[in-house]
């Protein structure tokens, strides 16, 4: 009982930068912290995590916390399945309750074409051993009794892709748990430390310049999501990425009446009810690029209109908050992960709207890459090189709006 009221410090922030680190991770979000966490397994402790704001202030703290693995390509499905499996054990691994609820995930289909694509996804998923199935409107109604499934809507529901292992998790807890583990493993976390430049000599980054001084680095990791291009430019390279805002909002808490995640690509919404009873809702990215994280009115209008078609009960619910985050979109809606043309500069980028889902597996794979110098097989299809060899991994149908 006393433990509940005891204030425990989970980690201490480092104050002074050392002159050199074996590994410098740019970005203190879920990917950067997960990498530091998994570097412990390889006995690499001389690690600095540089974060320009507070940890988890970017996409890690702005996503809608949905986890799933029902992607369209075998490469993608395999990768995200490994991530969901790591998430399943992450709470025990970190000794921290992440409130992971595998409540199930429904992707609604409103057309014959959508039903066809979902049948295709279900088959790909099942070949990879992922629980994923096409269901009809009656089963949809059973799983979400409070949702309006009637035929007299703008987009009648013809069926859904049902993915039982999908669900929601407490995103801040993931960040905190990973930060504690990274700290316990000896990594230094430097919040409010902005990278201002990278010094490159030939095929190597030698020095990372920050607003708190310069440091030498053995390996540099770019885990900055929406800001990946900005960091890449400092390293004198380009990425096939554009930065867009993605917006979400949350209602006041109401009585629990939805215990699955509901997604509709056609209606551009994904909806879940949190443990506190709030409805968390998100939408599609804005088509134009921007680094300004502010909501738009047309987002709120479209999102609430579509949500009310599915859940008319929410008509009087008030919105508590709305926010926007940056998404680093790649041309094929798959991530860009691993080596670049610079020998000691690796990236975790191109995460679009699906980065948080992949945090543990990205950490594990990047840690292995740093420790061994070899690209793990699981992430080989996501190499930056694929854009030069035209071997794209198209997740357009399964990743764009489908969270």
């Amino acid at each position: 009982m006393r433990d509940i009221f005891r204030k425990r410090r989970m980690w201490k922030f480092a104050t002074e930068l050392k002159p050199r680190y074996d590994v410098v991770i740019i970005g203190g979000g879920s990917h950067g912290l997960a990498t530091a966490h998994y570097l412990r397994e390889h006995g690499i402790a001389d690690v600095a995590i540089l974060e320009k704001s507070y940890i988890g202030s970017g996409a890690a703290g702005r996503n809608t916390t949905i986890l799933r693995s029902n992607y369209k390509t075998p490469e993608g499905a395999r990768f995200y399945d490994a991530s969901v499996k790591l998430y399943e054990g992450l709470g025990a691994d970190l000794d921290f309750n992440l409130l992971f609820s595998q409540c199930g995930h429904l992707t609604l289909a409103h057309s014959d074409r959508a039903m066809f694509v979902m049948a295709n996804r279900a088959e790909v998923n099942r070949l990879e051993g992922i629980d994923s199935q096409l269901i009809g409107p009656d089963r949809v109604q059973e799983l979400a009794p409070a949702m309006y499934v009637g035929p007299d809507t703008t987009y009648p529901i013809m069926g859904a892709l049902y993915h039982p292992p999908g669900g929601i998790i407490r995103h801040d807890a993931v960040v905190w748990g990973l930060a504690r583990s990274a700290f316990e493993g000896g990594a230094e976390i430097h919040p409010y430390t902005e990278v201002t430049g990278l010094r490159r000599q030939g095929d190597r980054i030698t020095t990372v310049e920050t607003d708190k001084g310069s440091i030498e680095a053995g390996v540099v990791l770019n885990c900055t999501a929406g800001w990946s291009s900005v960091i890449a430019e400092m390293a004198e390279m380009q990425l096939p990425i554009t930065t867009h805002i993605l917006q979400a909002c949350v209602t006041e808490p109401v009585k629990p009446f939805l215990d699955v995640v509901v997604v509709s690509s056609q209606m551009h919404v994904y909806i879940s009810q949190s443990d506190r009873g709030e409805f968390v809702m998100g939408s599609e990215i804005e088509p134009w690029t921007t680094y300004r994280m502010q909501n738009t009115l047309n987002f709120l209008q479209d999102l609430t209109r579509h949500t009310l078609e599915l859940f008319p009960q929410l008509e009087r619910a008030r919105l508590l908050r709305a926010w926007a985050g940056l998404c680093d979109l790649s041309p094929d809606y798959s991530p860009i992960l691993g080596k670049t043309e610079i020998e000691n500069f690796h990236v975790s980028a191109g995460w679009g709207t699906y980065g948080f889902k992949a945090a543990p597996i990205v950490g594990k794979m990047l840690a292995e890459l740093v420790a061994t110098g070899k690209t793990p097989e699981l992430i080989a299809p996501f190499a930056l090189e694929r854009f030069y060899t035209d071997e794209l991994v198209s997740e357009l149908a399964a990743a764009a709006v489908s969270h």
């Binding site: 291009s229 900005v230 990425l239 554009t242 680094y291 300004r292 047309n298």
Partner: protein, 99 residues
Amino acid sequence: MSFVLDCPNCGSREVTDFGFGGEVTTRPTGRPEFKELNRYVYFRDNKAGVQREWWVHRAGCGEWFLAERDTRTNEVIWTARPADAPPARAAAASEGAPR
């Protein structure tokens, strides 16, 4: 934050009226290598700052035009038909060139 763009034909309209055509890129000339072509097709500066970009007035006259916008604030600095656009600054031009 939403913003307003000046269509050269129709005047000020909300951004939802327009289609975004992406940042202005430099098309390779002559007989480029595959690598250079792929760089042109996929790779972008994705600048956090003033960016020269294409827009189309999709819900209006259908005209394609250029704009310069600060992607950090969404402030639109100017819009113009390609023929009337101010020349790209020397710095911007060299940054846009393939590396």
